[in-house]
């Protein structure tokens, strides 16, 4: 077991490595699982988000405003801020770590080629969307996203996820989460415009930015500044929240009704 454990830890530690695993790449070369052509959107743009974790206070204003803007069913989130407590065993000091999460609008999104009806597609501007009129609710894309960014919306019975608030961007507005962010931690913009704030920050912090699960080769376009590399993979933390059980040992779960 010790040996196996060491191998596992190596696996976790190898955070920046490139393609490595993917033994089925030969299949992908044959066309199956290749990215289908992008459609719609402004081909001159490439939207992306930069999250400055140094400014995030974990207030969940983004979570709430997204919920109000996009009406996700209760208990399902297009964006949410995961919160961790990291404690030093030597000094006993504890710090909080915040990880705002949303769809990464990946440049090589594994959710797109799997969709059997092309209801999930990527626009030319990089935004990954779901056509809920076409979606058959097979949830294949939900399985394919490594970030749990997708879910089946109980009301529409179709796949749902963050859209970068494409409808607001189109109207010249910022996404709800960006607009409501108390610390100004979320920056959205066009990477193809060298004058945009995001382009400038990407330039300035190039060596420091991190993305989630880079080894999966999804090429995420949500960049984190001030990131701790121990959180870029599935966090090795104790899931304290779920330790609270009822008398039968079942998880307590969310106790609320549909709004």
């Amino acid at each position: 077991m010790e040996l196996a454990r060491r191998f596992f830890l190596q696996q976790v530690a190898r955070v920046t490595a490139g393609a490595a695993l993917v033994p089925l790449s030969t299949v992908a070369n044959a066309g199956i699982n290749d990215q289908p052509p992008r459609r719609g959107g402004d081909p001159k743009k490439r939207y992306a988000m930069l999250i400055d974790l140094r400014r995030c206070i974990g207030c969940q204003a983004c979570t709430v405003s997204c919920h109000i803007e996009n009406q996700a069913p209760l208990g399902k989130f297009r964006t949410i801020v995961s919160q961790y407590e990291v404690e030093s065993l030597e000094s006993g000091n504890a710090v909080q770590f915040m990880l705002p999460r949303l769809c990464n609008h990946c440049d090589n999104p594994p959710c797109v080629p799997v969709c059997p009806v092309q209801a999930t597609y990527q626009q030319e501007d990089g935004i990954v969307l779901v056509d809920s009129d076409r979606c058959v609710g097979c949830a294949y894309c939900v399985q394919a996203c490594p970030y749990d960014a997708r879910f089946i919306n109980d009301r529409t019975q179709t796949a749902d996820k963050c859209t970068f608030c494409a409808h607001r961007l189109e109207a010249g507005l910022l996404p709800a989460c960006v607009e409501s962010c108390v610390g100004g931690a979320r920056i959205i913009g066009d990477l193809n415009d060298p004058g945009s704030q995001i382009s400038k920050m990407v330039e300035e912090y190039r060596g420091e930015l991190m993305v989630l699960q880079p080894e999966k080769n999804t090429v995420p376009h949500v960049f984190y500044l001030g990131m701790d590399e121990r959180f870029i993979d599935r966090p090795s933390a104790a899931p304290e929240l779920w330790e609270i059980r009822d008398g039968e040992g079942q998880e307590l779960g969310y106790e609320y009704a549909e709004h």
Binding site: Q11, P116, Y140, A238
Partner: protein, 392 residues
């Protein structure tokens, strides 16, 4: 893991305070589909020697396996459809074909396969049906109508349709395996060993199904039972070798699926149970089949082994498809999954098996499948209490 948090390197530990909770997105319907379609394609392979190659010794087994292949092929697509959250939109698959998606390819392979299997069964069963044309009532009506004429089924046609069906069965086998194995988001699925074990447990289950049908249809053919026993034994050994290969290679080259499996087994009691159960069931199957091979007197209990073989095939799919979904992808720990009682849960499982049983009963009532390729129509021996008790 300490009481309070996961030890994190040398001097840190971390606990997760807030994280979203995601339910599973594929329901037990998916397990039912993978189970039934696996039984179906593997059953079809058991039909090959007797029906397509014309091996006399394998004809009884082919009779049993054909019933298994057809009945599961009819029910499998129903459970697949039920796993869609928008089942009425299934026509979108054909309105927007997508060559990049294994599921889309599957939506083409599957109906062709099901059609070919039904066509093959029709060709094979129409001769015994014709022989029953004199029967009265609905049975006679069906026996006169379904064969569509008095012509004798030409042997070459059975061979051609059989070969086409087998080719299509390979496409179904490949797509069901690849569909799951390409998903790098779930390390436990993302290994080429997975389709191999799907295949082998499919064969184990199909042979088990034939044994069970052999017993409960009253056919109780000893040779067919022995042949299926050998297939279970060989497939179990192969599955064990593949699993060992997966583990060994995973430890050697640091494969993500092995790492994820070890982590899950280490951190979660449910996973430990599943691992023990899997190993125990595999060993039991191996020992049971092996013992029966050497000790003929035990063979009357073959059907119990058949049920165990079916259980192994089903449990493997349950563990792979349901339990793996409870492993959080970018948060700590495991999502709870409790089987619901409704159609997304228990009712769905029971319903699919009920539907399968109904199909078998209807076929058994109207089709003299035991009489295919010159067999004896033993419809009168349906009662399981008759027959020679020493054969299972």
């Amino acid at each position: 893991m300490t009481a309070k948090g996961r030890n994190w390197g040398t001097n840190m530990q971390s606990i997760e305070l807030v994280a979203p909770r995601y339910g599973i997105a594929w329901y037990p319907w998916a397990v039912q589909y993978f189970f039934l379609i696996g039984l179906s394609y593997a059953s079809l392979w058991l039909v090959i020697p007797g029906a397509i190659l014309g091996r006399e010794k394998w004809k009884p087994a082919a009779r049993l396996a054909l019933l298994g292949a057809v009945s599961t092929a009819i029910v499998a697509p129903v459970s697949l459809l039920a796993d869609l959250h928008q089942p009425l939109r299934f026509w979108h698959f054909y309105a927007y074909p997508t060559p990049s998606s294994w599921m889309s390819l599957g939506s083409i392979f599957l109906p062709l396969y099901v059609g070919a299997v039904i066509f093959l069964a029709w060709l094979i069963w129409r001769d015994p049906l014709k022989a029953r044309a004199g029967a009265g009532g609905l049975q006679g009506l069906i026996a006169r109508g379904i064969p569509l004429g008095q012509w004798k089924t030409p042997r070459w046609l059975v061979v051609v349709v059989g070969v086409v069906a087998v080719v299509l069965s390979f496409s179904v086998m490949v797509y069901t395996g690849a569909e799951v194995a390409i998903l790098k988001a779930r390390p436990l699925w993302h290994t080429e060993y997975l389709p191999a074990i799907f295949l082998l447990t499919g064969v184990i289950g199909a042979a088990g199904l034939a044994v069970v049908i052999n017993r409960f249809s009253g056919m109780r053919h000893p040779l067919a039972g022995d042949q299926m026993l050998t297939i279970i034994l060989v497939a179990t050994v192969l599955a064990g070798l593949v699993a060992a290969g997966w583990l060994a290679q995973g430890l050697a080259i640091n494969d993500g699926s092995v790492a994820a499996a070890l982590e899950s087994v280490r951190d979660n009691a449910g996973w430990r149970r599943a691992a023990y159960w899997g190993v125990a069931a595999g060993i039991l199957l191996f020992l049971g089949a092996g013992l029966m091979e050497v000790m003929g007197s035990l063979r009357g209990t073959r059907w119990i082994l058949g049920l165990l073989a079916l259980a192994v095939a089903w449990m493997f799919r349950w563990t792979v498809l349901m339990d793996v979904q409870t492993i959080a992808k970018h948060t700590a720990g495991f999502n709870d999954y409790t089987l619901s009682l409704g159609s997304q849960g228990l009712l769905g499982i029971v319903g699919t098996f009920g539907l399968w049983l109904a199909v078998v009963v209807v076929v058994n009532l109207f089709v003299p499948w035991r009489a295919a390729y010159g067999g004896r129509d033993g419809a009168d021996t349906l009662s399981a209490t008759k027959g020679e008790p020493s054969y299972g």
